[in-house]
Symmetry: C2
Subunit: 636 residues, 2 copies
């Protein structure tokens, strides 16, 4: 079975419902608050006005960031995921109205970008490294595919197809080059899958294969004066922003946009971490379509480099602020950049790696990322967002309602709205349960209708019940045993099965109102990092089930650096705290504060130590109370 065949009959989002104590309230706030707020922002920020002005054949007056069109596209995408799961005529009408504005702004030749149409129509496709025309095209296509799948309406799909055709005409013909920010590649693969038009597959392959082989990006970096973008804020913003593409000495740094080598030769994950994730996600889809060994090997090699040398314990990616990305092996400084969008991109990539291989480790990492590196990005009330997700803070890092470069909030919105895509999968004739989330799926496997209904107490306890009915049809069910489970028990109608330590437990039978009960033991674990990680030397992190924990100043009397050798003693579920969390309590060693008056340094070992209590909360929940210090890695 080729990878292509394996995923050809995937489960659609509309077949999945989510009804989960942990995730449903977050998804409801995402739908009712975030997506609604995003819509208001489209008007307030001038995003919709840009489209209107283009439709009215106005000139100038562009508002917002030069890639502001994507705000509208991402909103449509998130709203479409909502519409795929429930009727909402009011939301659907708003979506139709925005789509209509977009369609009216499309140029007769299919081109669509309000910045260039309003400000520099003559400079299309001249500044591929900075001006994000292809990035915008990608988000348009993703929105169109989501909208078509949710509503079966082709209104936006037609716009996307016309623009994709235009891109296909231009690239490889008039222009040879790749975008500075990957995105269109994975979008074209989505478009190929809904249209079956192989030109989009070929065009995605063109962009993926050319990266690292072309000289256009290097040429643009050396010749900024000839490029489009000079009219945007007098070119100063663009000119300042493009420093990310250069080394300190001003020479071109090929790593930033993953152009240091052809993808198939790359050994390490480099550069801007969101761009890297989008490229690798697209390349994985390409590998699924093409079944090409060399590409698959390179993706697995990159995943291994990332997960064994360049990933935070939260699943967060990219330590460095300046390039918003990766640096060197084992550089995992705790004032991490770890952009929320990079965690989201990692979910996209890992989902595709799962589809390619059927391996549980990718679903394990999606779970780790969802509960930690991603979820920390969203405030408990759903209205504020982190761009950066450090693992340690002095208390001066806080979520915000919106950003000038507002990529994270809408990205979080579309992930939460499409969460159903990550729970179940079908590969060949097997049905996979990848995430334990309350809800249900009803789908068809080899002609048989399978209904599966799930109750889950994750992340607070590892008890899951799954009711399965296929009217007696025999369907292999693969249940993921989470890598964090200390031990597992699985029964079907009360009869025990032998579960592996991790990976999938396959259960095949003629399903007829059967009940599967799973229990995953959630012990509190003290983790340590590889000795090469300088930032975590002599430190431990507390983990329980899928959740990484942290200490916050609000719960703990001492400055956080003073806690040493934390020994967890108990866990308590506190429904009143942080919308309900299980806290880890324990004792740690702290220095006796006596005798230090008037001294800053003194001979070591004069300080007595005493035991004191500590309370740890889930990392995702930090910075939702009074501002204060936070630490994931505690002194061991």
């Amino acid at each position: 079975m080729s990878p292509r065949d394996a995923v050809s009959d995937g489960i659609s989002l509309s077949e999945v419902t989510i009804d989960d104590d942990f995730w449903s309230p977050r998804r409801e706030r995402n739908r009712d608050v975030t997506i609604s707020y995003q819509y208001d922002q489209l008007e307030e920020s001038g995003t919709l006005e840009n489209f209107r002005r283009v439709a009215d054949e106005e000139s100038g007056g562009f508002q917002g960031m030069w890639f502001q069109d994507t705000d509208a596209y991402k909103w449509i995408e998130a709203a479409s995921y909502v519409l795929s799961q429930r009727e909402d005529p009011e939301l659907e009408a708003k979506v139709d109205e925005v789509i209509s504005l977009i369609a009216d702004a499309q140029q007769p030749d299919g081109y669509l970008n309000t910045y260039f149409s309003l400000v520099e129509p003559e400079n299309r496709w001249t500044n591929l490294h900075m001006m994000h025309e292809l990035y915008c095209a990608g988000h348009l296509i993703e929105a169109a595919v989501a909208h078509y799948r949710a509503t079966e309406k082709e209104t936006l799909l037609e716009v996307a197809v016309d623009f994709a055709d235009r891109v296909d005409d231009v690239f490889g013909n008039e222009v040879e080059g790749v975008p500075g920010h990957e995105e269109i590649e994975l979008a074209l693969l989505k478009l190929y899958r809904v249209t079956d038009e192989t030109r989009y597959l070929e065009l995605a392959k063109y962009f993926i294969d050319l990266r690292g082989k072309e000289d256009r990006l290097a040429w643009e970096i050396d010749n900024p004066e000839t490029l489009g973008g000079a009219e945007y804020d007098d070119g100063e913003v663009i000119s300042a922003a493009r420093d990310v593409f250069t080394h300190e000495d001003g020479t071109y740094d090929r790593r930033y946009a993953q152009a240091h080598e052809p993808l198939r030769d790359q050994e390490t994950v480099e550069g801007h971490s969101v761009r890297a994730m989008y490229l690798f996600a697209a390349a994985t889809d390409l590998a699924i379509e093409m079944d090409e060994d060399e590409l698959i090997e390179s993706l697995e090699r990159l995943w291994t480099n990332m997960t064994t040398k360049r990933m935070y314990v939260t699943g967060g990616l990219g330590p460095e602020e300046a390039h918003e990305g990766f640096t060197t092996d084992y550089d995992l400084r705790n004032d991490a950049y770890a952009e929320t969008c990079a965690a989201i991109g990692s979910v996209y990539w890992n989902q595709r790696l799962f589809e390619l291989t059927g391996e549980a480790k990718y679903a394990d990492l999606i779970e780790r990322t969802l509960y930690n590196g991603f979820l920390a990005g969203v405030s408990l009330d759903g209205t504020e967002f982190f761009y950066e997700n450090p693992l340690e803070s002095d208390g001066d890092h806080h979520r915000k309602g919106w950003f000038t470069c507002a990529c994270c909030p809408p990205n979080a919105a579309r992930l939460l709205a499409s969460l159903g895509e990550y729970v179940y999968s079908q590969r060949g004739s097997a049905l996979y349960v990848n995430q334990y989330l309350g809800g249900s799926v009803e789908t068809t496997v080899d002609g048989a209708t399978v209904e599966l209904s799930q109750d889950s107490f994750l992340p607070w306890s590892g008890e899951v019940t799954i009711d399965v009915d296929a009217e007696g049809a025999s369907v292999p069910l693969r249940l993921r045993i989470p890598e964090w489970a200390e031990s597992s028990t699985v029964t079907v109608n009360g009869e025990s099965l032998d579960a592996p330590a991790e990976g999938y437990l396959e259960v095949e039978r003629e399903w007829d109102d059967d009940r599967i009960e799973l229990t995953f033991e959630q012990a509190v674990t003290r983790l340590e990092a590889h000795p090469a990680v300088a930032a975590d030397a002599g430190r431990v992190a507390l983990k329980r089930g899928p959740l990484v924990y942290c200490l916050e100043a609000v719960d703990n009397d001492r400055p956080l650096q003073q806690y040493e050798d934390p020994e967890p003693t108990s866990t308590t579920h506190r429904p009143d705290l942080l919308e309900g969390v299980t806290v880890i309590e324990g004792e740690a060693s702290v220095p006796d504060r006596q005798g230090w008056d008037g001294e800053l340094y003194r001979p070591a070992d004069e300080t007595a130590r005493e035991r004191t209590e500590f309370t740890a909360v889930p990392y995702y929940a930090w910075d939702n109370r009074e501002p204060g210090a936070m630490r994931v890695w505690l002194r061991s």
Copy 2:
């Protein structure tokens, strides 16, 4: 006895010779290499050309930083210290030539600043916070005083007096305000002491007393468009640089230039650390002259805040790069800024505090600063300098030959050239030995000629011999017992004296070819920092005698973060290494590297530990071999 009387009969630099195994080679390189190189830089950088153009009544064509005149002044000052200690007709001729250029550039009304005279003559005294006219004046005066004391020539002193008179005419009359960068205050006090002209004392007092009470700095920050400096690089450099005076929200931050409160009310050391040291040094001189309790109390309070809450173990000051200065109590991050000039400024301040009080703790801190925070700033060969002195490096921080803002190299040059000022002191009728450095002093105490000749093996061993002769006159001699001495023995002509644990041992006798032998025990000490210092929690630093030690990658196999619980086992003097250093060797615990293939995080306590050897070198000597990581604070 008032403080003024106590120092009135101080020891002049020309009475002291230094002949010391450790310091003399450094002083010779300073004289032969650095001061010579500095002179060449004066021509190359256009500094002298600026003076020539003003003398020739040219307009425009100013070269270098807007306060570039100080390069010439600092060079004259350093060269004068050299001339005070040995004849050097060639150097003296060069000094005379530069002085002549400076004198020719002085305006008829006494004003002297080549930037304003060449570029914006109409904008004198309009931009006190950024344009450094008074800072330049201060360095001119310091140079003039040093030159006069060394040579008894009044050529530069006359220039300085004329400019000081001009400043005195303007300030408090036409202009009310204080400079953004303190320096003139301490210079005016020096000028007062050589001229006995009380107007300079009063003017210094004016600047010191007005700081924190005036509104001019705040007004300038809010009205940059009306100020001088707009012609300097189109005003962009000045405009960008002045951000240091503002909070992130653009409002004026009164702390940067120590203007948050009147000095007498200040509780904590704030802002740019070099400026703070220069202000406090001047204020201490003022306290010596005025004997004013409130001022003395505030200075002692500030010193206590600095030394017990805001000082690196090396004596370095100021953790933060953005403001080159102080932040909050116990913020002693190891990627310290700790500017070399701040350590030098601390020496200046502490010397004056000693003169004010006669307390040994100030001489102790001068010793600590000289051997660590200051000396690290200069490469072993004397040709390269650190601006910043971190206590931990990944291996990417290196000394440079010169800087665009070249304050540190000439500041280091003038301190090394004037080192003799810190060895001996006279207060009242007592002669103090403050630093143990080989060499001699011949001075007059209460009419008696005292000759004192010193042999010292510091910093490598604590053995010191002092021969004293006063032709039978009785002179109280106060010998500092260093705070680092684990124990001390002192004999006079072989007879033991009881030495205190620290402070001064006073020995009074009729000195007649007597020999004092001192032995200070230098044990290796593991120091810890106050528990509130987050950066050093769970860490220890190694110290021996006055020297702080560090680990460098070149001497140690493992990444430095892996060394835990360092146990010193021996010290060895290695004449071949780093121009001769005593190294500390020992054993530390490091993680077993086995079993980590393919893992980045795993349950703690699975990693076995093993003992391995380490070698520590004096902190001042780091970054003099192949580039690599360095750490002062090791895991305990």
